[in-house]
């Protein structure tokens, strides 16, 4: 608190970034959202957003993002927990991240091959007697691949939170006769809640605007707000409508941040 000035000087690059690369684009998007497809000033895009087509799309985006986040958390938490118990935990953690450096389109193509009618997954199902199933272009494959892509983003913050935890706390809990479930619920989970929250944010927010996988893996059976924006920018060249959907995405994100952020006041 002593000299606010010097704090602000350190802060300049970040503020500059916010001004140039966040505020300026938001203003640009807002500006575009008030133009209809023929370049006239109008509110038609906002009107259009409240038609059943887009509302339905918003709901389904939410639903899928919610599923993806939930499943990622269910997989990532135990993984992160077990990773902290391994011998070379930092190395294993790095190895979790490495696959994400291979190009996404290539990995999607690989998944098409794996989940295809003659792919490994179906070969396995056949071998255990279930028989061939349609896996590609289903909700299952879409959620599976999305979770696959987001999982490192969920594991990292949770791992960091778990890793810092003081082992004596657990010993103390054990000594006091707490069951493992009790220890988890009362000691471990609350202490890692910040990590979990970060993980959910970095998964849920981008999951809302997923687009490429909706086509590659779900064969356009899943339509999200991201897909629609993509279409408006790259196919119709209706930047107004695309921007309008983006405005709503940003508003939704702000709402989420305030709802999840308020719980911890005065930290």
């Amino acid at each position: 608190m002593q000299n606010k000035m010097s704090r602000n000087i350190y802060f300049i690059p970040y503020v500059l970034w916010i001004a140039l690369f966040v505020i300026a684009p938001i203003l640009l998007i807002l500006y575009y959202s008030f133009f209809d497809i023929e370049g006239n000033l109008s509110l038609i895009n906002y009107q259009k957003f409240f038609t059943p087509v887009y509302l339905k799309m918003t709901l389904s985006s939410f639903w899928y993002a919610f599923l993806i986040t939930g499943i990622s958390l269910l997989v990532a938490y135990p993984t992160a927990y077990l990773l902290t118990k391994t011998k070379h935990k930092q190395l294993w953690l790095l190895l979790i991240i490495v696959p994400s450096w291979i190009n996404l389109l290539l990995k999607a193509y690989a998944f098409i091959g794996i989940f295809g009618t003659y792919g490994v997954a179906n070969g396995f199902l056949e071998a255990i007697g279930i028989g061939k199933q349609q896996i590609l272009f289903t909700d299952f494959s879409f959620i599976f691949v999305s979770v696959y892509i987001f999982i490192p983003f969920m594991i990292l913050p949770i791992f960091n939170a778990l890793d810092e935890m003081n082992p004596t706390l657990l010993d103390a809990a054990n000594d006091l006769g707490a069951s493992r479930w009790m220890t988890f619920r009362r000691v471990i989970f609350p202490l890692t809640i910040d990590g979990v929250k970060t993980g959910c944010q970095v998964v849920f927010i981008p999951a809302l605007s997923l687009f490429m996988l909706t086509r590659l893996i779900a064969g356009n059976r899943v339509i999200t707000l991201g897909t629609a924006i993509e279409q408006h920018f790259l196919v119709t060249q209706d930047w107004g409508m695309g921007s309008t959907i983006a405005v709503f995405l940003i508003i939704i994100m702000f709402l989420i941040m305030f709802v999840t952020g308020n719980r911890k006041q005065g930290v």
Binding site: I37, G113, L234, T236
Partner: protein, 357 residues
């Protein structure tokens, strides 16, 4: 802290080394020379040996950049900031780009080889008198089907797709014009129709196709069809000819109700800094021998009549990919419908996609 400083230093040093390597490579490739020509094209859509040959013959250094959609390409050219001397857009884009004043008129006196192009493909509605564009490759939109998977069934018309036996077998392409066009054609309307009632009718017709549709995909359809993931696909003829070379059970047909005739064309965008070299390049690509070599590499149909003489007979005589004038007569080229109508097409297409669930 030591670790942080270490990391900082290591990355800086590695980056510096990489930058040095890049600049060495760039100079050795001549990319820094001032007399350059920048080509903006789809990925892998030219035989790179021809670029080398052009460089040798003219002493002009070629920079090859790629895009993955017409619209994205147009946005880049519209915004400027980079110099493109040649671009290869599809036909409907040319009208749009001309409207936005993004094209440089061609000087026909510098393009003596223009005479090699088949008359059928000269003076087309999207660019009367070829003021701005020269056709690069052409083709049709049609149906690829796997006769083995369909048990010898033959497909000749759009209407054949609405068959109850074809459940979950069809791959559509993720394009509003193509899919709506198929709906319109199957009702014997023009695929440039803008009548709202006709469009609604087409969309309703498409909705009834839903049970037969496996997925609506993009470029990956080639891989899915090759791998027999689905038996039927709505594709461009160029894609068809390539995958048929890989899988001999595949058959290609242009539906009898009519379909789309497409062109990819060479243009000189407004961003050019080297109009002269651009003309030289276009003329070079129109050379019969060059065009033949390019067509063999890319395996799409060339509009260059003289080039056909240099190509294997079984390719040139293949009616599926070099349809006769009588057949092309029945096909339609996409017109630029204007933004509003295009938006309507897209809206209906979006609703059709959502209907699937």
């Amino acid at each position: 802290m030591k670790k942080l400083v270490q990391m900082f230093l290591v990355i800086s040093v590695v980056s510096a080394l990489l930058l040095y390597a890049i600049s060495r490579l760039n100079t050795s490739q001549g990319f820094t020379s001032s007399y350059t020509l920048t080509i903006y094209n789809w990925g892998d859509y030219i035989d790179s040996d021809l670029i080398d040959r052009f460089e040798e013959e003219t002493g002009i250094k070629v920079i090859y950049e790629t895009f993955d959609s017409n619209e994205a390409m147009m946005t880049k050219i519209e915004q400027g900031g980079t110099t493109y001397d040649i671009a290869i857009p599809s036909e409907y884009m040319i009208d749009k780009m001309r409207e936005e004043d993004l094209l440089v008129p061609l000087d026909h006196s510098k393009l003596p080889n223009l005479k090699n192009i088949d008359e059928r493909f000269i003076n087309l509605p999207f660019d009367p008198e070829n003021k701005f564009s020269v056709p690069y490759f052409w083709g049709t939109v049609g149906i690829v089907y796997n006769s083995k998977m369909l048990g010898g069934k033959e497909i000749t018309a759009w209407a054949d797709l609405w068959d109850n036996d074809l459940k979950n077998e069809i791959l559509l392409t993720d394009g509003a014009r193509e899919v709506m066009g198929m709906g319109l054609n199957s009702l014997n309307y023009s695929l440039n129709d803008t009548n709202e009632e006709h469009l609604q009718e087409a969309k309703a017709k498409l909705d009834t196709l839903t049970p037969n549709i496996k997925a609506i995909v993009g470029d990956e359809s080639r891989m899915l069809l090759e791998a027999q993931e689905a038996a039927i696909g709505l594709v461009w003829s160029g894609v068809a000819s390539e995958i048929m070379a890989e899988n001999e059970d595949l058959e290609y047909v242009v539906p009898e109700e009519g379909s789309n005739l497409w062109f990819d064309n060479m243009v000189i965008p407004k961003t050019t800094k080297n109009v002269d070299a651009a003309h030289q390049f276009i003329n070079f690509m129109l050379d019969p021998e060059v065009a033949a070599q390019n067509a063999e590499y890319v395996s799409y149909s060339t509009p260059n009549k003289e080039a056909l003489k240099y190509m294997p007979e079984e390719v040139v005589k293949d009616e599926r990919f070099y349809p006769s004038p009588e057949l092309t007569e029945k096909l339609e080229v996409y017109e630029n419908l204007g933004k509003k109508n295009l938006a309507r097409y897209n809206e209906l297409f979006l609703e059709f996609k959502m209907h699937r669930k």
